[in-house]
Amino acid sequence: MSARLEIRDLQKRFGALAVTDGISLDIAPGELHAVIGPNGAGKTTLVSQLSGQLRPDAGQVVYDGQDITHLDMAGRVRRGMARSFQITTILHGFTVLQNVALAVQARSGSSFRFFGRADAEAGLNDAAMVFLRQVGLADRAQDIARNLSHGEHRQLEFAIALATAPRLLLLDEPFAGTGREEAAQLLDLMQQIKGTQTILLVEHDMNAVFALADRVSVLVYGQIIATGTPDEIRANAEVRGAYLGEEETTASGAAGC
């Protein structure tokens, strides 16, 4: 089999701290692979290296059989790697529609066009509306992004990622800070997208992870201590000791469903 993404012995240090300590991982096309781990385990740092925001100290990132370790972020996005951020990263002064239309613009035609109103380009707006409808934000299209609720920000972040026409989604805690209802809505959305996309989901929310993931990897102190199906991970004693123990309530809650 050929993996969509191969992570080979990735290493990253911040001073004396090995934040990514020899991570190797394969993600198959169509798979939803979750990475869980306690705060400070190095999850965001891993995503940042995969998306090209951070350079690893050693190791390789191979995407569709090509070594992209030294490719910049924009280059990776153009090849179909999309990323959402743990801390919402949107253009706050732009409208919701403009945020998504700009992502469509990035992959359709040159942006060295100095005349003609971009806001009036039906091609960009129509394509953007499709993604806004998909995430349930269509009726907020003309609002300034700053004025959205936190949950809506997460939805917008999602729509932007989808608008880049991804073949691999890197999602860094998309559920972070969402309320119960918002989380349920996002979970719905993820369920829809799952199967049509290859997804690396970094998540703290155990309910979401065990409901969605095909496979789960557990990251602790920069190392992956276990990879397996949700059931295997739940049953893994080492994982229980290192991580799930402290999340007893949520984990058992998830086991119930």
Partner: protein
Amino acid sequence: MSAASSATEPTAPRVRLLSRTVAASAIFVLMALIPVVSHLSDDPFLTLAFTRILVFAIAALSLDLILGFGALVSFGHAAYVGFGAYAVGVLMRHGVTDIFVQLACAIGLSAVFAAITGAIALRTRGVYFIMITLAFGQMAYFFFTSLSAYGGDDGMSLQNRSTVLGSDVLESNLVLFYVTLGTLVGLYLMATAIVNSRFGRVLQGTREDALRMQAIGFRPFRYQLAAFMIAGCMASVAGVLLANQAEFVSPAYMSWHRSGELIVMVILGGVGTLLGGIVGAVVVLLLEEWLSIFTTHWRMGLGLLLILVVLFSPKGIGGIFERVFGPRK
């Protein structure tokens, strides 16, 4: 689900667009009446003085394009005004009097200078960007001060104004005024188009969040550099007109004071509104005239006004107008 209605154009920005167009038209029409006032009040100097104001309005407009829409605070923008002026002065000295040739040289030189210095300055952010553009601006300043063949420190007077395809129409102050006003209006329309274009959207997106732009597949650097070059070229057009207005070319046009003054104009008028830079230029230069009647410390008065405006209306004079005349929330 009213997806159809939400796909239509936004109403609020459209109102703003309309009021901007009205404001711009009003300002340009008022400016066009200056020669009439000048004639009626029998004060021919007024037209020439206002030509100078229009020239700086062009320079401020060009600065707002990068400062307001790209958050690129260039502290060396006056250098491009100087390039334009020297393109006229130096070419005149060698018998090339046609304004189109002079414009082409001014724009070419500015594009090259902006490309090289911009490529270096854009590797930095914030205060460092300000300092590096300041340093490059001063480099250009000192280069022309040491150019003794062309007047050095003292600058040089021009025997004549530029010719237009062999004609000397620009010798008339009235023609020069309207040519300058026409150029200002044309460049304002061009800048407005750029801001609303695909390119302008990328520039503003980068101002908001460069990381987000990279995360959707843009490489912001090239757009910022292109904007930096466009702004420099526009400012050099102002320089070509300034040399003709003053019939004099001097390195003083490029000093850091001038660059700072351009920033003051943009901030005072309203950052990121295009029209603001134009209004700011008018206000600053008129105040300069007026305050200098009362005191030699007129810069202090100007500084005070700037502080007041920034404190009470972060969006400048344009923001005050918007609050008074704009649509109610």
